[in-house]
């Protein structure tokens, strides 16, 4: 850029008068309003369920959730009490925690190792192998249910936390490897070369450089994977009988014909609480992580 071009934008900005400022502000307000409106609109369905969870069972079939404001008498915390009274649910929360935490940490570790190999190690066929791994993203879980069921049966993994955890780990790998590898590539080459010149082995580089630098991507991956495992119903339903995660525990609370909204609604929010906490805690990393992993 020449000096002239450099100066042009600056003079342009300096000349912005008060009038222009006002225009800019005014043109922003509609944007603020629009954003507020859309944001609220997006929240309406969730609010609807939340208020529904507060309505007494007998009125649920006949009243809309907004009537809670006109007829406060139909509100009650009874539904939530029902949920917690049931000891199955409380033990289910623990089961879910085990499965979710394990099913998050394990795939991240395994994927990080593989991602580093795909990013910075040389070996023949590396890129082709990577493509194959990413291609596995495509396989739907339903395809694996029966074959794995037999396998688990033979291995004695049926109805175990371990079995669930391993299943989720495997299916979380393609995306995890994809994301982490794309992120690791972005790490400046000179850093790694400098470490190598200092005599570091691959393992050293991995643990002392790659992992720390990769924290944003790892954090965002953790959120995604945690959410996925926590909310899973299908896998749990198939592979668990006595050891039930919370999604299944709620599901089986349903009456015959699955009709109890008065249980589903509060249960959905109880189940939502922890992932939401996780999300809020990590959302800063989340954006950075996605940014780095995708735009590269």
């Amino acid at each position: 850029m020449t000096t002239a071009e450099l100066e042009a934008p600056q003079t342009a900005r300096a000349e912005e008068s008060t009038a222009a400022r006002i225009v800019r502000f005014l043109s922003r307000t509609p944007v603020y309003l629009l954003i507020a409106f859309v944001g609220l609109l997006w929240l309406v369905p969730t609010f609807g369920l939340f208020f529904t969870s507060l309505i007494e069972p007998a009125s649920i079939g006949t009243a809309g959730w907004w009537e809670i404001f006109s007829t406060p008498s139909i509100a009650t915390f009874e539904n939530y009490r029902e949920i917690f009274d049931n000891e199955d649910i409380t033990s289910a929360i623990w089961t879910t925690l085990w499965v979710a935490i394990g099913g998050t940490i394990l795939p991240i570790l395994v994927a990080a190792f593989a991602a580093y190999a795909f990013a910075w190690l040389e070996f023949p066929g590396r890129d082709w192998l990577f493509l194959v791994v990413v291609a596995l993203l495509v396989v739907p879980i339903q395809m694996a249910l029966i074959p794995i069921f037999s396998l688990y049966n033979d291995l004695g993994l049926f109805d175990s936390i371990l079995g669930l955890m391993l299943f989720h780990t495997a299916f979380g790998l393609p995306f995890a490897i994809f994301l982490l590898r794309n992120f690791f590539i972005g790490i400046p080459r000179d850093l790694l070369e400098a470490a190598r010149i200092d005599g570091a082995s691959e393992f050293r580089i991995f643990f002392r450089l790659i992992l720390p630098l990769g924290l944003p991507a790892i954090a965002s991956l953790a959120i995604f994977q945690f959410l996925w495992v926590w909310n899973d119903l299908l896998v749990a339903l198939t592979f668990a009988r006595d050891t039930q995660p919370i999604t299944v525990a709620i599901f089986t609370q349903l009456r015959q014909f699955s009709a109890n909204i008065e249980l589903i609604a509060p249960a959905a929010f109880v189940s939502l609480a922890i992932p939401l906490v996780v999300f809020f805690a990590f959302q800063r990393y989340f954006v950075e992580g996605l940014l780095a992993g995708s735009v590269k």
């Binding site: 944001g39 006949t62 593989a114 739907p140 391993l166 299943f167 005599g199 939502l272 996605l290």
Partner: protein
């Protein structure tokens, strides 16, 4: 990119060995193998093996004993239900990824210019934190047909009520054969009436006792009016049915009803409104034969609620729910992409005289292309596999119309039919469908490498 470039890419990124000497076997194969082994084991056992196993299974029949070759695949393409599923997935692919990406783009652009965007981001992203089962439940509630329960229809009802004036009655039925018509066209009493002797009896049923106008009184049959025609319009119902056509005790007249008088050619020549006891009169008429009718203006059909979950709208209904969940994902990714665009490029374009719109179209969008592609292609893959949201939003009766391939596979393999062979074939078909999508993804990816 040709294959020749692939090996070049292979070596371009590797780090040189520590002390400059050539790499030994361990460093070249052993270490990579160590790093890759856990992942490859997991993938091989949990994903590759089932895929192969399922593919083989798709060539066998229901019980798994008899090899039937491609028979299952033939069924796939000839069965109506499966055909609907395939067609629906096609629609999903056509509509949803584009919508999600577009909405994500719009949102990302909007929030780029304002502060405090976190609250908005959280609001839009929150649906992703909710399990798809819960999301399905949420939207099932939203779409409920009854305006007293379904949020959407309640909203529509409010608008409707504000716009349309309310009428005296919502619905009615004729109580006797000689009263013909409907709420749309009005009810005409077939019996001809003449001035001086004609007394019309317009008995209506199908009206709830609670819907009768408040000021109504016991219905009365009026006397004939010389030179005119009189009549009564009343709620012709007594518990147990009563005697239709006769005004009985406890049967209330309907007030405020618009009554028309029609001449021989069917033209309306006079109008009047009924009294609290249901009586009405048309005085001073020219001689001739007339017919009395309850005007259709009297009725305004209640809002029954749009059938979002009905077979016509179920597909868009489920799609909307899905978009609600995934728009946040698109927005966050694209917003990150937007943030990465160097400001000076945009400024340069602006100082060159380009308008905002041109800057957006010519500079921003092309720079955003990689990010947009990621979002779009991810959505394409997921949409081909869509399952949870369909099964939880669509009520049993319309699941056929909302059917998608993954759901068809589930129902075939695990629903009553229990045909694992056919289910496997469906799964393989789904897998094959996604491959071309992936091929595009691969090409884009290689361009970046």
């Amino acid at each position: 990119m040709s294959t020749a470039e692939a090996p070049a890419a292979d070596t371009a990124r590797g780090l040189p060995p520590a002390d400059g000497r050539g790499r030994n076997l361990w460093e070249q194969y052993g270490i990579p193998a160590l790093f890759l082994a856990p992942a490859l084991v997991f993938l091989a056992v949990w994903i590759v093996y089932p895929t192969i196993s399922t593919t083989i299974r798709s060539f066998y029949d229901r019980s798994g004993d008899e090899f039937i070759g491609f028979d299952n695949y033939e069924t796939l393409f000839s069965d109506d239900t499966l055909f609907t599923a395939i067609r629906n997935n096609f629609l999903w692919v056509l509509i949803v990824p584009a919508f999600v990406t577009a909405i994500g783009l719009v949102f990302a652009v909007l929030i780029e210019r304002v502060r405090f965007s976190t609250a908005f981001k959280v609001a839009v992203f929150m649906p992703m934190a909710i399990s798809l089962f819960a999301a399905g439940v949420i939207w099932r509630l939203m779409y409920e047909k009854d305006p007293n329960q379904g949020t959407l229809n309640a909203g529509i009802a409010v608008v409707r009520d504000a716009v349309k004036p309310s009428a005296a009655l919502e619905r009615a039925l004729p109580s006797t054969q000689d009263l013909q018509g409907s709420t749309d066209s009005g009810f005409v009493l077939e019996t001809p009436l003449e001035p001086g002797s004609g007394v019309a009896r317009l008995g209506l049923t199908g009206i709830r006792a609670s819907d009768v106008p408040e000021d109504a009184e016991q219905a009365v049959v009026p006397e004939a009016l010389s030179g005119g025609i009189t009549g009564v319009v009343w709620r012709d119902f007594s518990p147990g049915g009563g005697t239709p056509g006769t005004v009985e005790d406890q049967e209330l007249g309907l007030s405020g009803i618009t009554i028309e008088l029609r001449d021989e050619s069917g033209r309306s020549v006079a109008e009047t409104t009924s009294e609290t006891n249901g009586t009405f009169e048309f005085p001073d008429l020219d001689p001739g034969t007339y017919q009395a009718a309850v005007s259709s203006d009297t009725f305004s059909a209640p809002f029954a609620g749009v059938s979002w979950l009905g077979e016509g709208l179920i597909l868009p209904a489920v799609m909307i729910a899905y978009i609600w969940v995934w728009a946040g994902f698109a927005m966050v990714v694209i917003a990150a992409g937007l943030a990465a665009i160097p400001r000076d490029l945009l400024e340069a374009a602006r100082t060159d005289g380009a308008s905002e719109l041109q800057v957006f179209r010519r500079v921003t969008i092309p720079l955003l292309a990689p990010v947009l592609t990621v979002v779009f292609i991810t959505m394409l893959i997921y949409v081909l596999k869509v399952f949870d949201i369909v099964i939880s939003v669509a009520p049993g009766g319309v699941q056929d119309d909302a059917n998608v391939i993954a759901l068809a596979m589930w129902r075939t393999s695990f629903g009553g039919v229990n045909n694992h062979g056919l289910g496997a074939a469906i799964a393989v078909f789904l897998f094959l469908l996604v491959i071309p999508v992936l091929a595009i993804n691969i090409r884009r990816f290689r361009r970046e490498v």
